[in-house]
Symmetry: C2
Subunit: 245 residues, 2 copies
Amino acid sequence: MLLQSIPIKVNLTHLKESCTSCSLHELCLPFGMRLDDVELLDKITANRKCRRGERLYHSGEPFQSLYVIKSGFFKVFDLDEEGKEKIVGFYMPGEILGMEAINKNRFHYNAVAMEDAAVCETPFGALEKLSHTIPALSHQFHKLMSREIMQEHEHILLLGTMRAPQRVAAFLLNLSRRFAARGYSPTHFYLRMTREEIGNYLGLTLETISRLFAKFHEDGLISVHSRDIEIRDLAGLQKLLEHPA
Amino acid sequence: MLLQSIPIKVNLTHLKESCTSCSLHELCLPFGMRLDDVELLDKITANRKCRRGERLYHSGEPFQSLYVIKSGFFKVFDLDEEGKEKIVGFYMPGEILGMEAINKNRFHYNAVAMEDAAVCETPFGALEKLSHTIPALSHQFHKLMSREIMQEHEHILLLGTMRAPQRVAAFLLNLSRRFAARGYSPTHFYLRMTREEIGNYLGLTLETISRLFAKFHEDGLISVHSRDIEIRDLAGLQKLLEHPA
DNA sequence: CGATCGGTTGAAGACCTTCAAAAGCAGTGG
DNA sequence: CCACTGCTTTTGAAGGTCTTCAACCGATCG
């Protein structure tokens, strides 16, 4: 019953807009740039759509462009010898895909859209060239790469030091914070990923995720109906992180 | 007995050398730059020494400079509310410290020298300015940030998907590869960190590390004498990663 | 309408942690 | 030089957390 109440805000009418009018402006590359410079950035970016399940790039593929997500969710994963997925991250609008590929000029992971999505494709060579003449662009790009490093450090800490309930709580709080930063409700959202994918990402099994969602529900921390999540006690979830109950 | 046979190569005579003659050239920022440009980079970097146990930077401290390690090992860690260390990484010569601080202009972690060390201190503002006129510098810097992101993705996969024996094997192989890239023996090295620090980093306890070192020793994969490690069967260790025995 | 996929729930057991004791080693000061 | 102290490491035994295995349910889809 709750599914209908949470529109998945893929605003396709905005897809042809320029960076200058993009709602993700503040999170993205143009942040801090002069308007005429933003137009230069606009010129080198192309729009691309991705259907649910479609691959944006493959592991091993030569690296040409970075992708900034305009709408939709992506998962980034590795495939082991046996073809099993190992998820390294979930990405949402305003976040950049492909930064780990700069080093070897080749993608090392796979990025797949978890729902119909739109991205800005920005050729990396052109971006670097442009950034030499626009200090604000260069600086913002460095900040975004730095943010990625920070976020991964946090996930390393999660995996390295937290027990299962803390991991799940941290995961929900992380989603909450990122939704909030994008103007969505921090307490009521729809999960784009399966229990298995969450478990994979958190170093747990799908059964553990299911059990902990049920327990959090019982404890009044959240309300779960399949993939619809409502956080009922944000402070309680946060407390869980500090005091490994 | 083996300790003496492994000189810890902290070549202090090189400390005052310029980037142009630095042995880490290939791993570091100047890679791919013209000689006269390297001299410009040289001008903005300062040398700094760190005694064993000394803090290079604190969490919360304003971010001014990146640090490139010339000699010595560093650990980077967070402190939780109770003051317990949570290690996010070990860094060795040629690697850059502080990149996660660019985003918020403030350090988020602590970096401590695990043995007497020397670093190049490079003011980030000056580095950005310089990189606008030296495309090779800009590009190499992007590659190094990208490498950091890649390495963290790998560690996330390690923590998220591997059992204890695989984690320890992967840790040893990772050190081996990084030592090799710096001209040291890939099969015989001295651990700068305690069992507790290794466990902390790998999401395990010090006892588990100790037990697995003993088991690997019994199985003929390695030879351990306190912190002196000799890898006796590199292929065997690698096989362990693929087939979670 | 059977098949498939995602999710829930229970029971058994593996893996790793926790607790504990003791030995090794390094540095310090008498 | 040796004893003392503190830190690191080893090793054993017990216990907990999470996984594995398995059965079942509901929704979706050709």
